[in-house]
Structures are given as C-alpha cells and as structure tokens.
Symmetry: C2
Subunit: 156 residues, 2 copies
DNA sequence: GTCAGTGCAAAAGTTTTGCATACAG
DNA sequence: CTGTATGCAAAACTTTTGCACTGAC
C-alpha cells in the first residue's frame, strides 16, 4: 500500500509542496490553511463545513468558497484527500493519511465509525479476479444504528 | 432478507398500489410509467436520464422533471428503489427488486457490473457486531478497469 | 516581472417548492 | 366533490467559471 499513513503534519506539508513544485503550482496561505485544518481535524468535511471552519480559524485570509472547491479538487486529484458520498449527507472529503478503511454510518445520529478488515479486502480482490476486473480503489459503507443510539431508543 | 426479489411486474405494481392506498396517495399514469420504465430497464438511472427515457416512451404524458424527483423520493422512502452515489457520475436510482448486490464500476467506460458475495455479507455482520452496530443496509463499490477496457488500453 | 491563485459575482447544474389546474378516488 | 398529483416556472442549493487583481516565485 503506497498511501501516506500516519504522517506528521510536516511530512504531509512536504509532500504537498513537492506536488505543487512538480506541477508548477504555488504554495499559498489559503492552500496551507486548508491542509492544516484537514490535518488537525481528522474528520469528514463537506466543502461548506470546511469553508466555515477555515473562516473561523483564519478570518484574516478571507478564503472564498471557490478556493475551497478548487483546492479540494486539486488535493483529490493528487490523492491527498479522498471524497465519499454519504447518502443524504452529500459528498464529503477526508485526508488520505490513514491506512485504508471503511465506514459505518449511523442513520440516526450521523456518526461515522471507521474500520478496516483484511478478510473483506482480500475477498474483494478474489471477486474482481473472477470478473477480470482490475480494482483501483473501493468504497464500503455500512448503514445502521450505533451502540449509543440503540441504547437511547431502548430508554426513550 | 425481506427484499422484493425476482418479482413480476404485476407483483411489483400490486405492492406499489398497496403502498399508495395505505398512505392515501393516488395511482397516476405518471407514477405507473416511472415504475414500468424502472422495471423493464433494469438499469441505474439518474433522475435526468430517467426523465429522458420516460419522455421518449410516454410522450403523451409529458412528465415533468419535478414529478420524476417526487416519485423517486417516494419510491426510495418506501424501499422500492434504492439510490447510490457513483462518484463523479452523481446519484443514481435502481429498482430494489433484486437480491442484494454490490457494484463494480469501470472508471474508464462507466460500466456497472453487479455482483453478490456471501463471504463479504457475512463478514460485514461480524464486524458490525464487534462495534455493537446494527446494520440496516450497506453499500459496496469497487472502482477499477473492466475486462474490455483493459484489452483496449493494451491494443491502443 | 511573470504567471498561477484568489475573491467575487455570475453562470451552470441540480433539486425543491409554490401555485393554479387536472384528475383519481 | 375533495384533496392529492401534476406541469410549469421560480427558487434554493451546489459547484464551476470568467475576470480583474494579488501575490508567490
């Protein structure tokens, strides 16, 4: 797996700068702010919520929503963030600095639980092989009710 | 599994009518046309493409895009169709009258291959159990290159 | 100094809503 | 008849684009 797992912020930043240099792109305060927020809040962001958080943390930069979209697309194209569509919640982005993982999504409280499982990963490759299909990446989401919400509905 | 698998159109129609009656809703030509097209074209539709097909097959009904959206939402809420977000291709709907299955999506030609696998299904329940998470449904998509596109790129 | 990046506002694309009319029950 | 459904157009959202200006290199 050639993903950038468990990197420090400095390593991530270096990788980003390298990427920018390679493509003759520029390292700007806005791009740095976006990367930093993505790194420090290891979370799943909609462009909207990321924009709000950036405006709160870096009001002096006055970052526009267009820059958020442009930067997220840039980061996604280069594999630094990944995007997933969480049903009704719409498209969300997260930093790709974790080992590959999948998600359980609570349909009551919206909580997202990450997990990984080798049995499934392996089986996916076996299935793909049967179809002569060459897997590049995959997406698995389990929708249901989380532990806490199950308790709640028992009590309520 | 309580899904409506391998039903005939008549059975599906009956279920739909029952659902409408239960909720004091009306059985209209537009709704019937949408159900019929979804049934006969066992495919993955965007609201847009479904609308186009309906206009072609039932020009006299002159169905509006709003009706497509309203009906798809109605059908989805009641579990008759399911929607999946296929990355860049956006949200798509398909009839839920098949046994549960997952998708391989070719990132070159966009082809969608359906498959099902008991090993994975079973393992999903085991994982969920570890987290005390109660699965309601799930989504698995493998992105990659299909057989035909692999051949093409070898030749080209 | 040059050229990519930015904010802004407009545009494009997608989904929902309000309303007068049509029509199923 | 009554009240839901519909088509249409407008509105609401989401995402992209054009442009003049800014700022990284």
């Amino acid at each position: 797996m050639n993903n950038i797992e468990n990197v420090t912020y400095e390593e991530l930043l270096d990788e980003f700068k390298r990427l920018l240099k390679t493509n003759n792109l520029k390292f700007t305060k806005q791009r740095e702010a976006i990367l930093k927020v993505l790194y420090t809040n290891s979370d799943h962001f909609s462009p909207e919520s990321l924009h709000a958080l950036i405006k709160r943390n870096y009001p002096e930069l006055n970052v526009g929503i267009a820059t958020i979209y442009r930067t997220l697309n840039l980061l996604e194209e280069n594999g630094i963030v990944t995007s997933i569509s969480f049903g009704v919640q719409g498209k969300k982005f997260e930093l790709g600095n974790k080992p590959h993982h999948d998600h359980m999504i609570c349909i009551e409280c919206g909580k997202i639980i990450e997990f990984e499982d080798e049995v499934i990963e392996k089986r996916q490759y076996e299935i793909a092989k049967e179809y002569d299909f060459k897997i590049k990446h995959h997406l698995m989401q389990l929708f249901g009710i989380c532990k806490e919400c199950q308790k709640k509905s028992k009590k309520g």
